[in-house]
């Protein structure tokens, strides 16, 4: 049986970090999640990371647009606890390689809803 969802007043506050990743290898979703968790755990430790409530909400693979370039490009939205955005951001910028290949995470911006994060930073309207 599935638990009934908590009322909005009892749910924790969230923030959505829009990010982009540029890498020398293709990044599947599982690897992306592993890297984010690994970096947060290494930089802040288990106790602190448990407060972040990290969740990769969506990711967009943008490689079809730049087939000529020598790197892979993806964008995504990461959900985290409100008040801990700076800590997550700090941990994300310390990711620099995966499986011996270079990669970099840039935070594009911070938003209160998935919709606004997508509209502002992922697919900005002209």
């Amino acid at each position: 049986m599935k638990l009934k969802i908590l009322p909005p007043t009892l749910r924790g506050d969230k923030r959505y970090l829009a990010f982009e990743a540029i890498s020398q290898i293709q990044l599947p979703r599982d690897d992306l999640i592993f890297m984010i968790w690994e970096s947060c755990l290494k930089f802040h430790g288990e106790c602190e990371t448990s407060k972040f409530r990290l969740w990769v909400t969506r990711s967009w693979d943008l490689n079809s647009n730049n087939s000529k370039k020598d790197y892979f490009h993806l964008k995504g939205i990461l959900q985290c606890n409100r008040g801990d955005e700076e800590k997550v951001r700090g941990a994300l910028c310390l990711i620099n390689n995966y499986k011996g290949k270079k990669l970099v995470f840039h935070t594009l911006g911070l938003a209160g809803t998935i919709k606004s994060a997508t509209q502002k930073f992922i697919k900005p309207s002209p």
Binding site: K42, E86, R89, G90, C93, L94, L103, V104
Partner: protein, 250 residues
């Protein structure tokens, strides 16, 4: 709202093509200016390349800094002194050649010689390959007196792991503690070699806030201090002593 200008004051220069890619990426990430460092041998060649790529034929060929739109590029020289005497000799010969002079730290005697020399702009990584942070209250006082900025290099954090990274963070904290007491200029730089080493100014700010700096201190280190070094060095040749400047009547 105040328009803050962010600077990355330590990019490592290699080849003209890769340097230009690095500069373009810094511009895309939201920086307003960069300083790219070369060894003494590579500096002239780099300056020639910048003159060819950025400036047209009408502009003077002896420029030491460049601008693309509002984005400033300032090539500088990094000195690796073997001993204090060698370092002073290098500083004397290179000071007029470039706008920004950086000394690669790590050795205690080199750190001291750099902090005591008013002609040095930046002491880079005084903690490098050391068990302590490389500066103490005496060197801090000298650095503040001679306006020598101490650099905290992000690349050192990026390229280290586990216990080494935690030691570097501890060194950063020691330097920050001394800076709060003696008020020497502090610089936060990326030390980037490739585009994969660059981060946005907001990410760098978030990281250093985790390390214990507050927002004002970070803005000083990433924006105010670099601007001051650039302005000060443009007037340096007119300065007789500190506080006395020759003003051209024209």
């Amino acid at each position: 709202m105040i328009n803050v200008k962010y600077f990355d004051f330590h990019l490592k220069g290699k080849k003209p093509d890769s340097d230009l890619a690095l500069i373009n990426e810094a511009k895309r990430l939201g920086y307003h200016g960069v300083s790219i460092f070369y060894s003494n041998e590579q500096y002239n060649l780099a300056l020639e390349n910048f003159n060819k790529i950025i400036n047209d034929e009408t502009s003077p060929t002896h420029l030491k800094s460049f601008k693309i739109d509002d984005f400033s590029i300032t090539p500088g020289i990094i000195i690796q002194g073997k001993n204090p005497h060698h370092l002073q000799k290098q500083i004397r010969s290179l000071r007029n050649k470039t706008n920004i002079l950086m000394v690669d730290g790590g050795d205690l005697k080199i750190n001291r010689a750099a902090c005591e020399n008013v002609k040095v702009d930046i002491l880079s990584r005084p903690y490098y390959k050391r068990r302590d942070c490389g500066i103490n209250h005496v060197l801090s006082r000298e650095a503040a007196k001679n306006n020598v900025a101490i650099e905290l290099c992000f690349n050192d954090l990026l390229k280290s792991r586990n216990s080494l990274r935690s030691k570097i963070i501890a060194h950063f904290r020691d330097i920050i503690k001394l800076q709060r007491k003696f008020h020497f200029p502090l610089l936060i730089t990326s030390g980037a070699r490739t585009i994969y080493d660059l981060r946005t100014p907001q990410d760098i700010m978030a990281l250093y806030r985790c390390l214990g700096l507050n927002k004002e201190e970070i803005l000083m280190a990433i924006s105010v201090s670099p601007s001051f070094i650039l302005d000060y060095n443009q007037q340096r040749k007119d300065m007789v002593v500190d506080g006395v400047k020759i003003i051209d009547e024209k």
